[in-house]
Amino acid sequence: MSEFRMPSLGADMESGRLVEWLKSPGSEVERGDIIAVVDTQKGAIEIEVFEDGVLEEILAEPGEEIPVGRTLAYIRAPGEPRREQRVAEKPKPESEAETPHTPATAKPTPSATAYPPSIPGVHMTPAARRLTAEHQVDPSTLKAGPDGVIGLSEVQAAIGAAPTPLEARPKPKARGIDPGEMRRAIAAAMMRANREIPHYYVTSTIDMTPMMNWLAARNAERAIEDRLLYAAPLLRAVALSFAKFPDLNGTFENGAFVPADRVNIGMAIAVRGCGLITPAILDADRHDIDTLMTKLNDLVKRARGGGLRSSELSMGTATLTNLGDRTADGLMPIIFPPQVAIVGCGQISERPWIVEGEVVARQLMEITFAGDHRASDGRRGAQFLSHLASLLGKPEGL
């Protein structure tokens, strides 16, 4: 039996409010399945499980504010016996209620202690159980819904009550992220970064003309929806560079650098009117440019429209921030803790450059690498940049 806990979705997150469960107790879950939605400072996030098994028991109900690390549910591994209380033939007394599962150190929340006991062999949601208690309904008289679970609607049907009016339910914030909350999340992460991380910066100007010519030729042959933005090959080059420099790809935890075993590139994405969010494209080094373009488009859509997943917010190993067209020439990016590196790209603009002794007009981009000086030195950052520049200079090889 493993404990499924409230994940940390950023250096700054202390708690999240459970919006809803997408799986009911007794359902089989597979690694990667989205089982719950949690409302955070960065909006509603879909929470995934990281193992196969059966969702054995749910310990939190929608509307509850749950600290990072607290157990949300138990997941039974395949082949593992069910929890004893579920196979018992007779209902156990009151003492078998939810409270024993609450970590001894954590204060039981009022709602957790208010649940009536779970009934062996019957899957009932905590909210439904509480409602049965409030209305003194005998749970054994209730019939499960089509999903095999007794939920609020089944209890409401039994007591003849109208469904809870929408306004009375815990309100999932639409993707309408609260700009104030998001600002606070950014402030907390960046204050931590500037307080804890001794940044160093190395900068190079890179001739992107070969890349832009290659892209233009490629896009000219393509249908409009298959065209690429330079962000896609740029992301691939950055991901390949981090794969090549594993000592810059990872996190700094408990006083030491911990290398990551995959390359998950966080992408700084602006959410209009709210601020920045940095969900990661997982295993970015293993996808070709077209796939990365599709993934990037999808990620931007979900960052703004809803549907970001917990893995995307918690598993980044390095970050790329790309200012884009008509912005500024360069930036000194701030590392997203606990990562140890970030790559910042300014706009591409036509400027004078010297090629074979001649001053010519070229498409130039300034790239800045910021590294955590606890984990690496400027020389290493410069090597990284030089490798990145060589990849960007030969786009056909990407």
Partner: protein
């Protein structure tokens, strides 16, 4: 006709940036300057324009589509050249 093109352009823009719906658009100012429209938004907006009009829009023409006024003029010109 101009009104029809204007609606096509606005619909394409608001479908990639629904939060901008209802915003006043300055006709001769670029979307990027008025709103936080980035490259991905812009690409999806052009795809929307292409779908709505059936026009194949080459990348070299993208710069003409950056403002409401520019985009309407572009659509009118392209449609006219097709004999509409």
């Amino acid at each position: 006709m101009a009104q029809e093109y204007e609606k096509i352009v606005k619909d394409a823009l608001f479908s990639v940036a629904p939060d901008l719906e209802g915003e006043e658009i300055v006709p001769d100012e670029t979307f990027r300057d008025q709103f936080e429209i980035d490259s991905i938004d812009f690409l999806n907006y052009v795809i929307g324009l292409s779908k709505a009009t059936g026009l194949d829009i080459p990348e070299v023409d993208y710069s003409e589509l950056e403002s409401l006024q520019g985009a309407v003029a572009y659509l009118r010109r392209r449609k006219a050249s097709m004999g509409f």
